[in-house]
Symmetry: C2
């Protein structure tokens, strides 16, 4: 099982973009590598909303980590949960064992946060894992079923009302996809209701949606969403969320379906590092991406708090990949006795899709919207999907969806509760 | 919601092969049709074992019932659970309501039965639904993960031991697929274990596997299974099943993975009909497929007990489809004041696949095995899949699997328990 013990042992926690890119960058290094993840799969999170909205299958956007690293002979993959890091003892504590390391890369990412309102969670599920996506899909599809059966016009209306909280890319993409499901995909499926009459609202606490984009693109995105029938409400924060809807201060939105796309909180393992974290629970790292005073411990991806040119490095996939490769580079330098070099984030641009043939994109000074931006979005997402098989299957399903307005992934799985009552809460 | 009340109302319980083929056969009839199912999808059960063994996705073999019937304007689909039938009152009792009918087609099928040993169920999950398949997939993949982590050779061996109980087509297909996963698909994925060393045993209580086939084909199937490394044990019934293995009388098989492919029990709604059922809980029906004394109530598919030429009509998909069409025909005759005609089952042949390029097939006197039988199996299954989209996606994935020994659906979803302990029991 263990290669010669003389080789330094690198432990990577997390098989997301950061951890996987770090592992791959070390593929030819004279090191032993152990990648630990709670899940057996790497997830292409940018397309997770498409699983939630029944356009894609889980396996289209997820690959077993073992498969990605099967040919990398210096790497071992462990399915397991890291509960803490013993920095002084240079070991990772697992739920059922421990793992000593010479170098550690912590890339455990973030979960969603309800800003202290954890009681909202049963009514407004968030979207971070495959299970989250399947639970959201279940609720969306069950809501239409419940509406079809409900004789009361008011309740029926509430079943057909969807509120997405959070106007970032995930929120925008979810709201757009929901509007399309209702208007295109489910159009002919029901007899008592017209799915196209569903109401989709997108709530953003700040002054505009997609705050990371240029203001002109935010406006364009809002226009495109409105064209799909999505009601965009900015400058309004949710003050309460319950089984029947959302309150925005005085204003009340009656809706049986609320989705959370607002806050993220760093992975709890950060708390075991014994250093002060930032407000979102992230770990402040040195320019070399290490823990202050611990050049052997790297923190990367959504878990790392790093400022560059006065702005925080954003919690996006390209940043995580760049950090993963950079941590690998610094480990290789350290092995050869060289000092770390500082990390520089190169902004690869931002993309958000809004619906069929509509998106916004920003690459440096180049700003795109509409069909051209959507094509760019399509190409980038296909290109970055891991595995040719996934690329092919996703392209085929998108083509089908685009040309036929039909998706195959509209399955309600899990126990089906009484459809005329409240959909059962998630399994978390 | 309700079309003019003058049209007779046909209620169909169950959206499996029987119910769906009945509904389609009534598409041009001057009737109102309501199809009720607990699930929102029709499931192509003959390929369910491929979802369980991570070769296909749930949505490849399931289609929303609404989508199948979206253009059939006389049909309404209800997601709901029928709990009883009030024969005298001519109404179906739902978990949350009731549904009066003029004609009723009961096609709720069968679940698996542990022959009175329901306590075996947590240790030996059966395969009837998408959820069953995903749970079995989870267990299989987690077993390899647990073996990879387990330092004890004995326990490791037990994690890598698989026992399939029941030598019918499902058991044969499961055992063959398990052997292939271990030997081909997972081959390069692990570091401490050799997945190819996994032990797969197939247990059959009767004297030969595939008892519905000609003896020569049973022998051929056993030979092909042995070629894949499957240990075929006939004439041995399980006397106990627990967390560590299976007892066959004196003999003990240590195995952490036991799958149940042995018994089926008819759907419990039969109990509410107030007539004596057969040993497996099925409903004896008249040659016209109706309940004795109730020409307006049809029972079809796996739920119906019918003998023809001294042999029972088997519980297979072609029989269910033929019965569905026949019930529709008799309803149309009744509407026109004509008497029912008796049902004749036409045996369309039997097929069972064993692994890559190996299968057995029997069409009347034509008996095939090996590659030719496998091609026949492939064509038949692709042909009968509902929806062109599914056909295309399944063909692509099979081609990939065949040529690259690689499947994309190897995802462990659901909560991941401690992998070194017993995998958590299913959610049922």
């Amino acid at each position: 099982m263990t290669p010669p013990a003389v080789l330094p042992h690198v432990v990577i926690l997390g098989g997301g973009f950061g951890g996987l890119y770090a592992a791959r960058a070390l593929r030819r290094a004279p090191l032993r590598l152990t990648l630990v993840d709670r899940r057996n799969h790497h997830l292409f999170q940018p397309l997770l909303y498409q699983v939630a909205t029944a356009a894609l299958n889980p396996s289209d956007i997820a690959v077993p980590i073992r498969r990605v690293l099967r040919r990398q002979k210096n790497a071992t993959v462990l399915l397991g949960e890291a509960t803490a890091v013993d920095i002084a003892g240079r070991r990772v504590v697992l739920a059922d064992g421990e793992l000593p390391y010479d170098y550690l890369i912590i890339a455990t990412g973030a979960a969603h946060s309800y800003f202290g309102h954890d009681d909202w969670s049963p009514f407004a599920p968030g979207l971070k894992t495959i299970e989250d996506a399947l639970e959201i899909r279940r609720r969306i599809l069950l809501a239409f079923e419940a509406a079809e059966r409900d004789p009361d016009p008011g309740t029926r209306r509430a079943w057909l009302s969807f509120v997405v909280i959070g106007g970032g890319p995930t929120g925008v993409e979810l709201a757009g996809a929901l509007a399309e499901i209702a208007r295109l995909i489910l159009r002919a499926d029901f007899r008592s209701i017209d799915p196209a009459s569903a109401r989709v609202a997108l709530i953003e606490a700040g002054p505009r949606i997609l705050p990371a984009f240029a203001p002109a693109l935010s406006e364009e995105a809002a226009r495109e969403l409105a064209g799909l029938g999505v009601e965009v409400i900015t400058g309004a924060a949710a003050t309460s969320v319950d089984a029947t809807g959302v309150s925005l201060g005085e204003r009340r939105l009656q809706a049986r379906n609320v989705l959370w796309a607002a806050g993220v909180a760093a992975s709890p393992i950060a708390g075991s590092l014994g250093i002060p974290l930032d407000r979102a629970g992230r770990v402040p790292v040195s320019p070399g991406l290490t823990l202050p005073g611990h050049p052997e411990v790297f923190v990367i991806g959504d878990l790392a708090a790093l400022r560059q040119d006065g702005k925080p490095v954003p919690g996006v996939a390209p940043a995580a990949k760049q950090m993963g490769r950079h941590a690998a580079r610094n480990i290789l330098r350290a092995v050869r006795g060289l000092p770390h070099v500082p990390f520089r984030y190169r902004d690869a641009g931002s993309l958000a899709t809004i619906g069929r043939a509509a998106a916004v994109a920003e690459f440096g000074r180049l700003k795109l919207s509409g069909f051209i931006a959507w094509l760019a979005w399509l190409l980038v997402h296909i290109y970055f999907l891991i595995g040719f098989r996934n690329r092919l299957l996703v392209m085929l399903q998108w083509a089908w969806l685009y040309l036929r307005h039909d998706s195959g992934a509209r399955l309600i799985t899990g126990e089906v509760g009484p459809v005329s009552g409240r959909a059962p809460p998630g399994r978390r």
